[in-house]
Amino acid sequence: MQVDLSTNYFELFELPAVFAVDSGRLTTRFRALQKAFHPDRFAAATDAERRWSVQAASFVNDGYQTLGKPLRRAAYLLSLNGISIDEETDTTMDPMFLMEQMELREALEEAQTADEPMDALDSIRKQLRTAMREQALQFEQTADDKKWQQARTVVRQWQFLDKLESELLAIEARLDV
C-alpha cells in the first residue's frame, strides 16, 4: 500500500519552500493532519484503512520533524534543490572554522574536570547556541540568494556544532547522577 500525500513536506504543510517557516502555522497544520490521519481515528476501520493511516501518520510525523528542526529543514531544502550533503569524499573545511571547533572540543573536555562543571558546560552551550543561530542566519541568506554551494558549506559547519551540542548533553547527563 502506498500513501500518496504530496511531493514534498512544504506542500504537505502548506508552507512556502523557504528556510524561514512560520512555526505556529507548521504546528497548527501538523495537528490538523494528525487529527485526520492518526491510527486512533481508524480504531474500528478495516485492516487496509488502518495500514494506510499508519503510513499517512508516519509521513506527517516525519515531515513535522524535518521542517520543525532548523538544521534538518536546511538539509531538506538543500536536497530539494538537488544538493547532497552526505558525500564523504569532500572533506575540505575552512581552517579557521576547524580551529574554532578544536578549541570548543578542548573546552568541553576541560569543563568536565572544572570546579563547577555544570556552569562551565552552560557557558559552552551559550557559545554553541550563538554560533548555531549565526549559521541559521547565514543559511537563510545564501538559500534565499540560491547560492546552494555556499549554503551547503553552512549546513556542514552547522552539523559540526550540532554534534558538539549533543556531546555536551551526553556529558551533562553523565555528570548529573
Binding site: 502506498q2 500525500l5 495537528r31 486512533d40 474500528a44 476501520a45 478495516t46
Partner: protein
C-alpha cells in the same frame, strides 16, 4: 461505517449503540479495570467488591488457574504462585539472570527464547501469567457491564520497549481481548485529569509506585497530547520506603538484621501500615508483635521524613534528565500529576511541588488514575464519543537501529521520536557478487551493538550479483501507534526487489498466538466456540458493510469492470460463508473469506483514500480539514509521489 470516515470515526454508526470498552492498568503488583458509565469513568469491582486485583497467579497440578486475592492466599505454595511477572514481559533468558525473580522461581529458559516459570501445571511464560490476569479483568468487566467487550486500552510504562509492548499485546490476544490501543501510563494519567480540556501546556507526570519510578513530560496543544520525554528507575518505589522503615526499626532496637524471612515480612507489613498511617497523622506506634513481644516504637512524621528524604532525592535526577531531554525549563511546566500509591506520602508531594515550583495534582486516587484515563480513551476509540477531539501522540522510548561494520550501531529512529514513524536507510554491498545481506536490528542508546538489546536478525537474499557498492538496499523501519516495530528490506536497483518483514524475537509470532488460542479454544467448552464464531461474524459484517457501502458510492469511479467483478465475487463468497447455518458455520472459513476480501479490495481502498486526501489537501483551510474530509470536489491535486521515495534521507 463508511470507508471515508477519517476525521470522525463512529459518527455514522447508526442506530447508535453503545460499544463496551474498558481501560486496563496491568500493573506489576496490582491490576485494575475501569470503564465509562453514564458519562463518568470508574473502576470496576468483582463479585467480592475488589477493584485492585493483586497481579498474582497460582497454577495447580490439575491445570486450575487462580488469580488475585485468592492466589495470594496460596503463597505458601511459593513456586506455583507467580507475582511480578510484568518485570519479565518481553525479556529473554539473559535478562532473567539479572532479575531477583530468578532466586524465587524455577525457570526453563532453554527452549526457545522465552523464559518460562516451571509450575505444577507446566511451563508458563510471563505472557501466560499476564494473560490470566487480563482474562480475570475481562470477566469482571463483562459481568459488571453486562455485555461483551469490543476491546480494551491497556496501559504500559512509557519506557516499555518494543519487545515488552509486543508481549503485552500477545497476552491480550491470548486472553481474547481486542487491544484498541496500548497507551502509555503517564498519558493515561493526564487524560484522567482532563488536562486535554485545560488548554495548552506542558505536564509532568510523577509516578512512584510499589517498585518502580517513572517521570514523563507531556505536551498538550490543541487537543493533541505528545510524550516529550521519559525517564525513571525500575528499582525504586514504596517497597524501598517500607524497607527503610524496617532498617530504622532495627536501628532503634539495636539489632543488626532479621535473619528470619518471616520476621522480616512481618515487620515490613507493620512498616507499610505505619507509612500509610503517617499520610494524615503526625506520629504512629509500630508494635513488634511476635518478633519482639512487648516492644513498640513511635515513628514521628519528622523521623519518617528523614527516612524518605534520600529516596525522594533519588527521583529528582530523572526529573532533571527529562527536562533536559525535552529542552523544557521548570517554569514552563503547567501541571504536575501524582500517580502511584507512594505519592500519598506528604514529603513526596512537598518535595516534588517544590522542585516544579507549583502545587501537585492529587485529587484522583493515585492508584486508580491510570486505569481511569485508559477507560476514557477506550470509550473514545470504541466510537462512543464522535465529537471528541482528543488525540494522543506517543514517542519511541528507545532508539532503534541496525548493526553496521565493526559492531557499531547506526541509529535509524532516535528515541523520543513521535510515532507512528517510518524511516528508511540505504545500505549497499561491500563485496563483488554479494547476493545476501545479514541485518541485525537493535534497540538502545549505546554505540556498541553489545551494549544494546538485540531485537531481530534476518537475511535479505536474492540480491542480484553486482560489483561492490552498486546494489541499493533500502531498509525501512516502521513503528506503529502502539510502538511496535516492523523492519523490511528491499533491493531497489534491480527492480526485482526482495523484502522481508520481521517481528521482534521475544514476542510470539502470529502463528504461535493462533496456535495457543486454538489450543485454549479446543479445551474450552462449546460456549467459547460459539462466542468465537459470533465475534468472527460481527467482524465479518463490519468489513462487509464498509466495503459494500464504498462500492455503492464510488466503486465504478475507481475500479475497472474486471476489478469490480473480482471484488463482487469475494463479497459473495463472504456472504455465503456467513449465511451457512449459523450453528455449524465454520469460523475459519469466515475468517479466510474476510481476509480474502480485505486483500482483494486493498487497491480500491488505497485509490479511494488517496483521492479523498488529494481533494482535501487541495487548498482547503485548516479548520475545515479538521472536521470534514470527503466533501470537497476540487480535484486539482498534488502530483503523485509515494512514501517510499520521500521518507528516506
Amino acid at each position: 461505517m463508511a470507508l471515508l470516515q477519517i476525521a470522525e470515526p463512529g459518527q455514522s454508526q447508526a442506530p447508535h449503540q453503545r460499544r463496551l470498552a474498558v481501560g486496563i492498568d496491568l500493573g506489576t503488583t496490582n491490576s485494575l479495570v475501569a470503564a465509562v458509565q453514564s458519562g463518568s469513568a470508574q473502576v470496576l469491582c468483582d463479585d467480592s467488591d475488589i477493584w485492585s486485583v493483586p497481579s498474582v497467579v497460582h497454577f495447580n497440578a490439575d491445570g486450575q488457574v487462580t488469580v488475585g486475592v485468592a492466589a495470594e492466599s496460596m503463597q505458601t505454595d511459593a513456586l506455583n504462585t507467580i507475582r511480578s511477572a510484568k518485570r519479565l514481559m518481553g525479556k529473554n533468558a539473559e535478562d532473567l539472570e539479572q532479575s531477583w525473580l530468578n532466586e524465587h522461581y524455577r525457570f526453563d529458559s532453554t527452549s526457545g527464547s522465552l523464559p518460562a516459570f516451571i509450575t505444577a501445571a507446566g511451563n508458563k511464560t510471563a505472557i501466560d501469567v499476564s494473560s490470566a490476569i487480563l482474562g480475570t479483568l475481562k470477566t469482571t468487566a463483562e459481568s459488571s457491564l453486562g455485555g461483551d467487550l469490543v476491546g480494551a486500552v491497556i496501559t504500559v510504562p512509557a519506557y516499555f520497549d518494543d519487545a515488552q509492548r509486543q508481549a503485552t499485546k500477545d497476552a491480550a490476544a491470548l486472553a481474547g481481548l481486542q487491544v484498541l490501543r496500548l497507551l502509555n501510563e503517564p498519558t493515561a494519567a493526564a487524560v484522567a485529569y482532563g488536562l486535554d480540556n485545560d488548554g495548552d501546556g506542558t505536564i509532568a507526570i510523577y509516578d512512584l509506585g510499589g517498585g518502580t519510578f517513572d517521570i514523563s513530560l507531556l505536551r498538550m496543544q490543541r487537543g493533541v497530547f505528545e510524550v516529550l520525554a521519559t525517564a525513571g528507575d525500575t528499582a525504586l518505589g514504596g517497597d524501598d520506603i517500607d524497607n527503610a522503615i524496617v532498617d530504622w526499626l532495627l536501628e532503634q532496637a539495636g539489632l543488626e538484621s532479621l535473619d528470619d524471612e518471616f520476621a522480616r515480612s512481618t515487620m515490613k507489613a507493620a512498616a507499610r501500615l505505619a507509612k500509610e498511617d503517617l499520610t494524615d497523622k503526625h506520629e504512629t506506634v509500630i508494635e513488634w508483635v511476635d518478633v519482639k513481644p512487648g516492644r513498640a516504637d513511635t515513628l514521628t512524621r519528622d523521623d519518617f521524613n528523614a527516612i524518605v528524604e534520600p529516596l525522594v532525592k533519588r527521583t529528582l535526577t530523572p526529573c532533571r534528565s527529562v527536562l533536559r531531554d525535552a529542552g523544557v525549563d521548570r517554569e514552563d511546566i503547567s501541571a504536575v500529576v501524582m500517580v502511584g500509591g507512594s505519592t500519598r506520602v506528604p514529603l513526596v508531594r512537598e518535595r516534588i511541588s517544590a522542585f516544579f515550583e507549583r502545587p501537585v495534582l492529587t485529587n484522583i486516587d493515585p492508584d486508580q488514575v491510570v486505569a481511569i484515563g485508559a477507560a476514557i480513551q477506550a470509550d473514545i476509540l470504541a466510537g462512543n464519543k464522535p465529537d471528541n477531539d482528543l488525540l494522543l501522540l506517543d514517542v519511541t522510548p528507545l532508539s532503534l537501529g541496525l548493526e553496521t561494520m565493526g559492531g557499531l550501531v547506526e541509529k535509524v529512529i532516535p528515541r523520543n521520536t513521535t510515532i507512528p514513524i517510518a524511516r528508511g536507510q540505504e545500505f549497499t554491498t561491500y563485496k563483488d557478487g554479494q547476493t545476501a545481506m545479514s541485518l541485525h536490528v537493535v534497540q538502545g542508546e549505546r554505540e556498541l551493538v553489545t551494549d544494546c538489546r538485540s531485537l531481530a536478525r534476518f537475511e535479505l537474499n536474492d540480491i542480484p550479483p553486482r560489483v561492490a557498492g552498486a546494489a541499493r538496499i533500502q531498509v525501512l523501519f516502521q513503528v506503529d501507534a502502539d510502538g511496535l516495530l516492523t523492519v523490511s528490506a528491499l533491493e531497489r536497483e534491480s527492480g526485482a526487489a526482495a523484502s522481508v518483514d520481521v517481528k521482534p524475537s521475544y514476542g510470539l509470532s502470529d502463528g504461535e498466538i493462533e496456535q495457543m488460542l486454538q489450543a485454549s479454544m479446543d479445551n474450552a467448552n462449546e460456549d467459547m466456540q460459539k462466542r468465537a464464531l459470533q465475534e468472527q461474524l460481527v467482524d465479518a459484517s463490519r468489513v462487509l458493510e464498509a466495503i459494500s457501502s464504498a462500492l455503492t458510492s464510488d466503486g465504478d469511479e475507481y475500479l475497472s469492470g474486471d476489478e469490480r467483478a473480482a471484488i463482487d465475487r469475494l463479497v459473495e463468497k463472504l456472504q455465503a460463508a456467513m449465511q451457512a447455518d449459523t450453528a455449524n458455520a465454520d469460523r475459519n472459513a469466515v475468517q479466510a473469506a474476510v481476509q480474502a476480501l480485505e486483500q482483494g479490495s486493498e487497491k480500491f481502498v488505497e485509490r479511494r483514500m488517496n483521492a479523498s486526501v488529494r481533494r482535501m489537501m487541495a487548498g482547503q483551510a485548516i479548520d475545515e480539514l479538521e472536521t470534514t474530509l470527503a466533501r470537497t470536489n476540487n480535484n486539482n491535486s498534488a502530483t503523485d509521489s509515494t512514501i517510499d521515495s520521500s521518507v528516506s534521507g
